[in-house]
Amino acid sequence: MNVLTIAHLTFLEARQRKLFWIILVIGLLALGLFALGFHFTYRDIQASSTNVQLIASQFSNLLLLMGLYGVSSLAVMLGVLVSVDTISGEIASGTIQTIVTKPLRRWEIVVGKWLGLALMLTAFILAMGSGFVLVVYAQVGYLPPHIIPGFGLMVLEGLVFLTLSILGGTRLPPLGNGVVVFMLYGVSFVGGWIEQVGSLLRNEAAVNIGIATSLLLPGEAMWRRASYLMQSAVLRDLGVNPFVTTSPPSPAMVGYTVGYIAVALAAAVYLFSKRDL
């Protein structure tokens, strides 16, 4: 039950922060712009194209994946920024002292914080993602394939970076931790690209570099699998672009990512338990 109390407190605290609302507003702004842009471009397509039905669904799929890519980036941003000082900040301010000295184990604090932020992040991704899907559905009546596993993978990506940032926060000060996690995000992004380009050019070394990066940091790989699942068959055959992928990470990679999150969380628990406060 302590885990839930801490989760509740963390959730309340995240809600108190301006940052949470800023990201939410940016997300809603992006959604609004997307809806408008989609409306006008779709109107043009309707006017100019002869085979409206086919073009519309391909076009919807591509734009939607772009939108969802935005959601997944915002989610990573949100996940890192709300968690970057959740532990180090409380150690620095001293609020942790009256909490740790209550009848609870230190792991309950780490897991509780993780749970609170993970729920918030999941709610953000599901709400924003559904928003984008609904905007398209309302105007065209188009739904992409595999929405549920797709969203699940996006959540998984957010959780990777959330967990890493909680892990870093047990030892690093907030700014340093944030810099490290965002740099890792960058590395994971570039690694994913090297793998894609490598697979397109059939360059095995590049593919291996990409796979190695994904193993080190499985976050971006989850988006690539999500976009692979949610893209239309026609787009898949069209080739490489930033929002979709031709060489999806395997289901084993998904299992690996879940394990990765669990290990990172366990490491955070271990480091926090050993730390003098």
């Binding site: 039950m1 302590n2 109390t5 407190l9 605290e13 108190q16 301010s93 001293g94 609020t95 002292q97 009256t98 909490i99 740790v100 000295t101 209550k102 009848p103 609870l104 184990r105 050993k274 003098d276 406060l277």
Partner: protein
Amino acid sequence: MPVIEATALSKVYGPTVAVDDLTLSLERGEVLGFLGANGAGKTTTIKMLLGLVRPTAGQARILGRPPGDPAVMGRVGFLPEHFRFHPWLTAAGFLDLHGRLYRMPAAARRRRVAELLEQVGLADRARSRLTDFSKGMLQRIGLAQALLNRPAVVFLDEPTSGLDPLGRREVRDLIGELRRTGVTVFLNSHLLSEVEAACDHVAIIKRGRVVRVGTLDELTGADTEVEVRAGGLTPEIIAGLSAWGAVVPAGAGGLTVTVADRERLPEMARYLVEGGARLYALSPRRLPLEELFLRIMKEDA
């Protein structure tokens, strides 16, 4: 079983020895004033006793169990130095949250929170956010937090910092009340008058080492200064007084004698009266804690 027991506790941070070979033990209902200059190791000691900091060597037991053990932390209250909080919580919300961490049932929490807000004089601010509180009010709400679970042992780290004289007095009275109900109190302080007024036991820590420990009487009463006011003090009588201790004249008809043992005072009174002096007053003066403390601070390591 002692409530607090520390055996050869040490904490070393790199080249710095924060606490060195600390041994002490506190029984139920005892109030210990843990005195020391800033940076002497007081807070590190409290943190080791609470499981916040891992000792480099030695061990501690609270109510017979290792510090930090949830089974024991439910019976411990703690007010940290520089107490911080989640500023967006209301006073009542803050106490309710900590009550939940103590696993108190909802109804008990409500009752206890109202009771404590009343006790620390913040009943009318229950719905105010902590961010609007003054330093003194925060210290009070922190104190209320430490008493939520009706603890068996309370650790207070500089509880009166930020409080005005009235607030200090209230904290002192509160400690007295805790002692009466059998609560053991570990009080970190550098305010000597506070310790003198609130504590029955004193430990003095200097550069990480406990240099004195005992009851207030033991520490400050080892040498008792006795003020004697009498008429007809002849030089012979005065010379004879030196059998009890060093004699220092203090104005007409007065002198002070520093005796090693209070038990010899009646004997000294009899000597004076039988010698023909007209004894008006013989008042033992306890060595003020402040003097003892300053003396110890001047001693070489």
